[in-house]
């Protein structure tokens, strides 16, 4: 049994993959609580796809791919903030336009390079087994920065998300806080690219938070439970990927989905089964 657990991580690339997956599971789940509470799932997905042209341009220009992704994500995050701030375009419309445009531009650019199919697959669904030591430092550094910002801005993010009106009357700037949240989201997505890819990062942002929301009633505990779900999903997903020889990003996401399904049916008070039992007892 012990051998079964330790065997995969005798390999250097599997060790790096484990660290990367745990870091990504942690940072996505914690920030994902705000994505769930503010109904930003679509925005997160759009932001993830928007990095595609950035990666492609960086590849063509021969600079670091993550740097390209970061610039693209920040530009789109600020672009969505700008378009919706003045109320001329509805948010979901603005997201839909930028999402499709960025994805198309990315595919167009990548299709102009030689190794179209392989590169695109790695970008879309991640390549956690290919994480280098340098990648790991970058991932860890960015993730630590995001988690630190979430901790330092806890009250600001809570106020701006829960009651922007009160935030205004207390002299705060909820609009600015939302912009900061978009930037944190962009950073998180870039951190997650290599593990789960642009196609699956939205799931990792939303699923652990949604699972936690069924099990908790206060934001700090929601974040803690989401973090546990995210980290456990990453580790379990990586084992599944090793022993069943399947894609690691997809295995991680499906493990998180399994956690959600269990919580959806069995959660105390809010689970489907609990509510049905309550109805049966009442009726």
């Amino acid at each position: 049994m012990i051998d079964w657990l330790t065997e995969p991580f005798a390999l250097g690339f599997m060790q790096r993959a484990l660290v990367a997956a745990v870091v990504v599971g942690l940072v996505c789940s914690v920030l994902g609580c705000y994505v769930v509470l503010r109904s930003m799932a679509f925005l997160g997905d759009a932001l993830a796809h928007a990095v595609l042209p950035g990666i492609a341009l960086a590849y063509l220009a021969g600079v670091d791919l993550l740097a390209g992704a970061l610039v693209a994500a920040l530009l789109v995050a600020l672009g969505i903030g700008f378009l919706t701030r003045h109320g001329a375009v509805r948010e979901d419309t603005a997201i839909g336009i930028l999402f499709a445009a960025a994805l198309s531009l990315g595919v167009l650019l990548i299709s102009s390079t030689g190794s179209y199919a392989t590169d695109l697959t790695h970008i879309l669904f991640g390549d956690v087994l290919g994480v280098s030591a340098t990648d790991l430092w970058l991932t860890g550094g960015l993730a630590a920065a995001v988690l630190l910002a979430v901790a330092l801005l806890y009250r600001e993010l809570l106020l701006a998300s829960f009651d922007p009106l009160l935030a205004h009357t207390l002299g705060r700037r909820p609009g600015l806080v939302l912009l900061v949240l978009l930037v944190l989201l962009a950073l998180t997505i870039v951190v997650s690219l290599q593990t789960v890819g642009v196609g699956l990062v939205a799931a990792l942002l939303v699923t652990p938070g949604a699972t936690a929301s069924l099990l908790t009633r206060r934001l700090p505990t929601m974040m803690a439970v989401a973090a546990v779900v995210g980290v456990v999903s990453s580790v379990v997903g990586l084992y599944l990927s090793y022993y069943l020889d399947v894609a690691s990003g997809a295995a991680i996401v499906l493990t998180a989905t399994a956690c959600f399904v269990v919580a959806f049916f069995l959660a105390p008070h809010r689970g489907l089964l609990w509510r049905r039992l309550g109805e049966a007892r009442a009726g």
Partner: protein
Amino acid sequence: MTDMLALEDLTVRYNGHPALESVTLHVPHGAQVAIVGPNGAGKSTLFKAMVGLLRPQHGRVLVHGRPPGDQTDPVAYVPQREEIDWRFPVTVADVVMMGRYGRLGALRRPQAADREAVARALDELSIADLARRSIGELSGGQQHRVFLARALAQEPHVLLLDEPFTGVDASAKEALLGLLEVLRGEDITVLVSTHDMNTAATRFELAALLNSRLIAYGPPAEVFTAAHIGEAYGGQALFVGDMVVVDQCCPGHVGDGVAHRHSHAGEEQAP
């Protein structure tokens, strides 16, 4: 005597439509003022301008002679309906503690004084036993009291309550009026917007009659005259002998001769 709150020539427009026209209003320290007027008179606009949610085109708001943004928590505002997500994972105590965020800033941990202010506010609204409940589990009346408690936890100098008597039963209304008596003892300046002219006339020392412009302001007996009410409510006011009947339910119906069926709130004896 110094004015606690001064509005000077305040004009606010929405998309070019005037909501408030040159309103000048001086409220003395510790006074309780009822703001009365028909639907769309600008009562909510007045409050939003006072807390800086709306920027006036003209004029200014002064608290203690300074703009409200200059000070910590000078003005607490309880809107008519909270536009929040009731499924948000916060407890009653969490929400009331938000009233302290203005003093706490971004990072300072709540001190004993903050916890005491929260406990006192919960007690004053008789919701201490609900402190650990999620806000989504509360009834509508309880939810409103949570937000009143949060406003008290701000320890404001000025408290603005937008239509607090609308949609509450008689006992909740008496409880709220009892709370206003307590606040009077604490020298907190209170402005309350209401449709309820009887309550405004009998339970407040000052009343302001508003319809975009400030029509009258002063002791209720001087404010609620037939002439002023007619000016504020226009076609919605019906004069029957000495009586003034004001229709506040369904604007436009008074002139159709069905005033009595629709007159819910205000029947005022003209002096």
